[in-house]
């Protein structure tokens, strides 16, 4: 288990960034997933889709260069790269729901052994709405969760989600600060483990049963 919160977050985003192939169209959720774009391996060029209506999203503009008509899905000013394309919300979600997004990276409140995901509400406490998350998780070819392994010491990878679901059986890969877990028909498979982390620690921090891959690797982060 890695102590530094900063390093734990870095492990997650660095590892997620290794999942893409050159040319992939990727939608990154607000927060931790957004940082993935900063850690792409050499030679890997991905196109970022932003569900408010464009592909080819670039970084935040220089101060003073903000355009009120050009924001990301969190209403923060961004830029558009050469070759970008703007469109309306219906086309945006045709892209998402039609399977034209290669991967989406999101956070999670809970995920379970079947790949069920809960990340949009806590009844009685927080009901922000699902926004585009339900569409993204169902529509993207690959659903990658970028999340800390536990919350306040409690497991987030459960036998069965207790919070209202975002989508049923759609998660493909869970990348945490402790390892990389693939959702398979057999259950959750621990494929990689974080540096300086023991398998027992991961199993302990996970409520769902973990199948340990025979060729378990150490995350290259």
């Amino acid at each position: 288990m890695i102590e530094s919160k900063e390093r734990r977050r870095e492990i997650i985003v660095k590892r997620v960034a290794q999942e893409f192939r050159d040319g992939d169209v990727v939608n990154l959720g607000i927060g931790l997933p957004t940082l993935v774009a900063n850690y792409l391996p050499e030679g890997i060029d991905i196109t970022l889709q932003s569900e408010n209506g464009f592909v080819g999203m670039g970084p935040a503009p220089e101060p003073g260069g903000e355009d009120p008509d050009l924001t990301n899905a969190g209403a923060q000013p961004v830029t558009a790269l050469d070759g970008a394309a703007f469109f309306d919300s219906c086309m945006s979600f045709s892209i998402i729901r039609g399977g034209h997004v290669d991967a989406t990276v999101l956070g999670a409140l809970q995920v379970d052994k079947k790949g069920n995901l809960a990340n949009w509400m806590i009844p009685g406490k927080m009901v922000p709405g699902m926004g585009g998350a339900m569409d993204l998780v169902v529509g993207a070819k690959k659903v990658i969760l970028a999340m800390e392994h536990t919350a306040k010491g409690q497991p987030k990878i459960l036998n069965e989600c207790t919070l209202p679901l975002t989508a049923k059986e759609q998660v493909n890969l869970i990348v945490t600060d402790m390892g990389v877990i693939e959702v398979t028909d057999r259950g959750l498979v621990l494929k990689e483990i974080a540096p300086d982390t023991a398998v027992d620690e991961v199993v302990e921090a996970t409520e769902a049963p973990l199948i340990i891959a025979e060729d378990l690797k150490v995350m290259e982060v």
């Binding site: 219906c90 009901v127 569409d135």
Partner: protein, 220 residues
């Protein structure tokens, strides 16, 4: 040629208490602020507001929430406006949360004259409550129904006198589909241009959808 240009006041005179009103924009980007300000000021209430979100307390649809003009909102997200959550929890406001893609598609569906569509989004979640499930080739779908409104308030970058609209960057979002799905469509133009001022090939919303054009400029 029918003259579609009116003042903001004349346009908002068409909105009556209790109506359903679609409002373009995404967290306030691409929202017709002048039309909203007039709605708030005039005190038209009991509205059912359809939009992507309730923006922020001081921006876009958020101002209508803070001004207590809505009895119900149909949106995908309310997290950026604490007042929406408060009114919901107090029972003052009905909130119908719809996945963003389904929301966009339902609006287009109404505009395109379809009776509904099948989507896997929402299966196995609370979204499926009360909805018909239909199985095609062994795959289950939710039947989602069209969503229309009495009035749509949208924002265009350039609008010609026939109502042809050109949007700019991410301010486009829900505006083009809302233009198709309401009985009365009012567009707030950043700039009103003569007919021909937008290339026919670059028109994003044909003027036939638009009933009224108002200027979004400060000098009225």
């Amino acid at each position: 040629m029918v003259d579609k240009i009116k003042s903001v006041k004349e346009a908002i005179d068409l909105v009556k208490p209790g109506m359903s009103v679609m409002i373009g924009g995404f967290l306030g980007v691409g929202t017709p602020e002048k039309l909203i300000d007039e709605l708030v000021e005039k005190g038209i209430d009991n509205l059912t507001i359809i939009g992507n979100d309730t923006a922020f307390p001081d921006k876009g649809i958020g101002k209508l929430i803070v001004g207590k003009r809505a009895k119900k909102v149909i949106v995908s997200h309310i997290g950026t406006n604490p007042e929406t959550g408060r009114q919901m929890n107090e029972g003052e406001l009905e909130v119908d949360l719809v996945p963003q893609g389904t929301l966009a598609e339902r609006i287009r569906c109404a505009g395109a004259g379809l009776g509904g569509f099948l989507t896997p989004t929402g299966l196995g979640t609370v979204v499926e409550q009360g909805k018909q499930k239909i199985t095609v080739d062994g795959q289950e779908y939710l039947l989602e129904l069209p969503l229309k409104a009495d009035v749509a308030l949208i924002k265009g970058h350039k609008v010609d006198r026939k109502g042809n609209i050109y949007y700019r960057k991410t301010a486009r979002n829900f505006n083009p589909i809302m233009a198709m799905a309401a009985d009365t469509v009012i567009v707030e133009a950043e700039e009103i241009v003569e007919v021909g001022g937008i290339e026919a090939n670059d028109v994003m919303t044909p003027g036939l959808f638009v009933d009224i054009i108002v200027s979004g400029r400060d000098e009225k």
